[in-house]
Symmetry: C2
Subunit: 193 residues, 2 copies
């Protein structure tokens, strides 16, 4: 039987590693447990301002209703893009998603390998040419032409191990995959339902 002390040691980087390996085993045995459906509801407010509400999702074989209140996220455009600046703009939300996902992937996979992390910081930049959105040039894409991410990490690990973790984060991060590879998106008008 584990003592309280050894039980405490099963948490690395704030991640319960016992639970992580248990999840891994469960998913290996029953792949349906791995299926998740995440959701968002958005309502336009005015001009470039709109509001997203995030709450329930489906995952681990059941509807998850543990969140008591939704997360409310305002998006807007800065003044130079004719908005009222009530929130980060949608392409800034993409950088937020990418930063968060690479960091979590790095921290969780470090935990699984028993590497204790002290600090992770990242800086992201994305190049966007407005001619795409404005429909001025069909040769210019609408979205980011490039995204650059740089990490600073303090951890009980060698430089080589840290580079491996940065690689692993890219190999496993869902948002890194979403941004760097195509995702099929279907959009429909559903005014009748």
């Amino acid at each position: 039987m584990k003592t309280a002390t050894s039980r405490k040691e099963a948490v690395v980087n704030g991640v319960n590693v016992d639970e992580l390996f248990k999840t891994l085993d469960t998913v290996k045995k029953k792949t349906a447990v791995a299926k998740f459906v995440f959701r968002a509801d958005n309502a336009w407010v005015d001009g470039g301002h709109n509001r997203t509400s995030i709450r329930n999702f489906y995952g681990a074989g059941a509807e998850d209703t543990t969140r008591k209140t939704p997360f409310i996220l305002d998006a807007d455009e800065p003044k130079v893009l004719l908005g009222t600046d009530r929130g980060a703009n949608p392409v800034e939300y993409v950088l937020t998603a990418l930063a968060g996902c690479l960091t979590t992937s790095l921290v969780y996979h470090a935990a699984a390998r028993g590497i204790a992390i002290d600090e992770v910081e990242s800086h992201l930049e994305g190049d966007l040419d407005l001619r795409g959105f404005l429909g001025i040039s069909e040769e210019v894409r609408n979205g980011y032409e490039n995204i650059r991410v740089s990490f600073k990490i303090k951890a009980d690990a060698s430089e080589g191990q840290l580079r491996e973790l940065v690689q692993l984060a890219q190999q496993r991060s869902p948002v890194f995959d979403i941004v760097s590879h195509p995702v099929p998106v279907s959009v429909e008008l559903k005014n009748d339902s």
Copy 2:
């Protein structure tokens, strides 16, 4: 000379259409004005919890420092994904970005065409199989396998015009492009700087 009333009429859907067409003309004459660089800074907090700060960006030929305070966005994972649920998770931030961008693209392009919008609501769902992140199966991708978006729109427009707007939003939205087509992402460890 325009009267105050006619000046007011140049705002459609909260978008200053005079400014929109002025921007369009400026960018056509001087393409460098269209170049934007958006940025995000993220710091890990604990476990699946990390925090992004969004503030200055480069655009319209200059560094934009009009934002007095940064937008602070917390990301975390729900309990079933071993987090403490202090914020939406990174893949939910992707849906937030996509919803906001499609909506803004739709509203701005409707404004440019003089179509007055009353309401825009959208519901998004993304299918994600955790086996990718966990590294259990190389045949399963890490990110969303599919994203479905449905819009409800009330506007002074025919059903056909609304369908056209939904098409136009997809054709012009930067985040729709980012999600549905590959973006090159470079990630580096920069512990020395």
